[in-house]
């Protein structure tokens, strides 16, 4: 029977699980974000570099193709921590731009349209809301970070063979953990800026500015107090140091190490989470 003829009846059928409810918002958001032409273009562009890297892996594993070149080429074409560190550095830039484009539209519209009471009057807590919004960004960003990274690692492992995998498995876990930490951090930055700034363009610029401002502040502290530890406050340096630690790439002795930097990143993420939780309330209480 046509809907308009049927009349309203209360729903009394089975209900979905909590996890399914949690995934509803990401589904709707992905649909909306992937409907934006600029995001799709950005996603396509961000896959060029992984394709180049794939070509590089292919070349490095086919020595017959560069037999005529000198011995230095062998060292240059080696697939090791350095290679994946460079890959992650370039790819992280695309992820950051993507976060600054997709992130600001996540929370600001809900705050502007007073939609939070609608969400929080349903079986969805504030933390569920934050998690489901974060899943949106983690999903999109993993398309340009974790997914191509793991594909490249898998490609290298399959071409180079089991022996290479046994000696280099930590590169796979390093890519996964390193990228996860990074996209979690930039997702939180994008969500916090979306929660506090309602203009999308300004919020997007704030995501990029976050990295530049903290880098500048870290350098200032280093210069004024003639120290090196403040480099850990620079998110770009900190995440690079963590990646190098995970990929077994050498870090300069006078700079903060991977563990110190990881601690700073986790602290920073915790702070951003607290800021978000403070802002996202069903009702504004005037005390």
């Amino acid at each position: 029977m046509a809907v308009y003829r049927r009349g309203y009846q209360r729903y009394d059928g089975p209900t979905t699980s909590h996890f399914a409810r949690l995934m509803v918002m990401p589904r709707f958001s992905w649909e909306r974000i992937l409907g934006q032409r600029f995001v799709v273009i950005l996603l396509v562009v961000s896959l060029f570099w992984p394709m180049l890297c794939a070509g590089f892996i292919y070349l490095s594993n086919h020595s017959e193709l560069w037999q005529g070149f000198g011995g230095g080429i062998k060292k240059f074409l080696a697939i090791n921590g350095n290679f994946f560190s460079i890959f992650m550095n370039v790819q992280s830039t695309f992820a950051l731009i993507l976060a600054s484009v997709a992130g600001p539209g996540l929370i600001a519209p809900d705050l502007a349209n007073n939609a939070l009471p609608l969400y929080f009057s349903r079986p969805l807590t504030r933390w569920d809301y934050i998690l489901s919004r974060m899943i949106v960004l983690l999903g999109i960003l993993s398309l340009v970070t974790i997914l191509p990274g793991m594909l490249l690692f898998g490609m290298q492992a399959s071409i180079a063979g089991g022996d290479w995998f046994v000696h280099n498995w930590f590169l796979g876990t390093g890519i996964f953990i390193g990228f996860t930490l990074y996209i979690a951090m930039i997702s939180l930055v994008a969500m916090a800026s979306s929660a506090y700034v309602k203009w999308r363009v300004v919020a997007g610029a704030l995501v990029l500015a976050f990295f530049f401002l903290l880098a500048g502040a870290a350098e200032m502290v280093n210069s004024i107090f003639r120290v090196d530890w403040a480099s850990a406050l620079n998110p770009t340096y900190a995440i690079n140091a963590v990646w190098k630690g995970l990929l077994d790439v050498e870090i300069a002795d006078d700079k903060p190490g991977a563990w110190e930097c990881a601690t700073v990143i986790l602290g920073l993420s915790g702070g951003l989470l607290a800021l978000l939780a403070r802002k996202l309330r069903a009702v504004e209480v005037v005390k």
Partner: protein, 326 residues
């Protein structure tokens, strides 16, 4: 039968102010499809009570339960059973009404297909069927109110909390909204908690009423019983010596109090005819200047409860103890 809403010595503090000061009440009957009116002057604590029932505020003492579940400790169970229509504009930008309702339905636990079906169904039900593919941001105020009602009932909740549902509606839309609320309780068996400043709305729709003032319950009444009692009230203005009028009224079974010199307020029980006042006035040698006659309205109940008019003769003075129970 258990109560829909049970509040026991509930205190809610926001900052340094105690908004709800130990209120206790039992409202509605689970599964009976009743409407409860929540009334009170501005700042009485109505919104805070609703928000506490929704789990938005943590009680500083006491507890609130909906359908037997604690609103704070079992918030997920409570929220799965209620629908909420907020007072202010609340929607999701850049979304058509169908998509919005589908999203709300799915978050409430409806499977994808059922949510889409219910979204269409409920939009036709509230009269937005023809505009269901329009973005909600482009709706008029009245249409937004209807969309808010639709999202509150899309998942078929047991209790629907409506905060000022007729705000900003023209008379025709207001009647439509009240009709929908009536249908919700009478045809679909939903319980309704209606918070409104418009007493006529509450009177038209509700079966029970709770009046809050300064964070305390000052009156709780079963409107059905009040209606059945069919008490009639007479406003009588007389000229002459009216000192014996109160006693003379008691002789015919009526009760009256003087509100000002020559101004009387009289309660007539169902078996006392209004015509019996004329012989009483004649015996007391009083000249009747004005006689107005009406049933006890919710407005009178409300004004009495909040202390804006004197109590009706025959009513016991409502003493509100410290914990707010009547």
């Amino acid at each position: 039968m258990s109560a829909v809403i049970e509040v026991d010595a509930l205190r809610v503090r926001l900052g340094r102010r105690e908004i709800l000061q130990g209120i206790s009440c039992r409202l509605g009957v689970s599964g009976a499809g009743k409407a409860i009116g929540l009334l009170g002057p501005n700042g009485a604590g109505k919104s805070t009570l609703i928000q506490t029932l929704l789990g938005f505020h943590k009680p500083s003492a006491g507890r609130a339960r909906i359908l037997g579940f604690d609103c704070h400790a079992q918030a997920r169970e409570v929220k799965a059973r209620i629908g909420y229509m907020p007072e202010n504009d609340s929607f999701i930008g850049n979304m058509t009404a169908v998509a919005f309702l589908r999203l709300m339905g799915e978050i409430s636990g409806l499977p994808k297909a059922a949510a889409l079906e219910k979204a269409h169904e409920v939009l036709f039900h509230v009269g937005l069927g023809e505009s269901r593919y329009r973005e909600i941001g482009t709706y008029s105020l009245g249409m937004k109110q209807m969309a808010k009602l639709a999202q509150a009932i899309v998942h078929g909740p047991e209790l629907v909390i409506l905060d000022e549902p007729t705000n900003g509606l023209d008379p025709a839309a207001r009647q439509r909204m009240l009709q929908l609320i009536k249908e919700m309780k009478e045809q679909h068996g939903m319980n309704v908690l209606l918070c409104s400043h418009l007493l006529t709305d509450v009177e038209q729709v509700c079966d029970e009423v709770v009046i809050l003032k300064d964070g305390q319950i000052v009156h709780q009444a079963d409107l059905e019983t009040e209606r059945k009692s069919n008490r009639r009230f007479v406003q009588l203005d007389v000229i002459g010596d009216d000192r014996g009028l109160a006693a003379a009224l008691r002789e015919v079974g009526a009760e009256g109090v003087s509100e000002a010199p020559g101004e009387w307020r009289i309660v007539l029980p169902a078996d006392v005819e209004i015509g019996s006042l004329w012989p009483v006035a004649s015996r007391e040698r009083l000249q009747i200047r004005k006689l107005t006659h009406r049933r006890d309205t919710l407005e009178e109940i409300f004004l009495k409860a909040v202390g804006h008019i004197r109590r009706t003769p025959g009513d016991a003075p409502a003493e509100v103890p410290a914990h707010g129970r009547l």
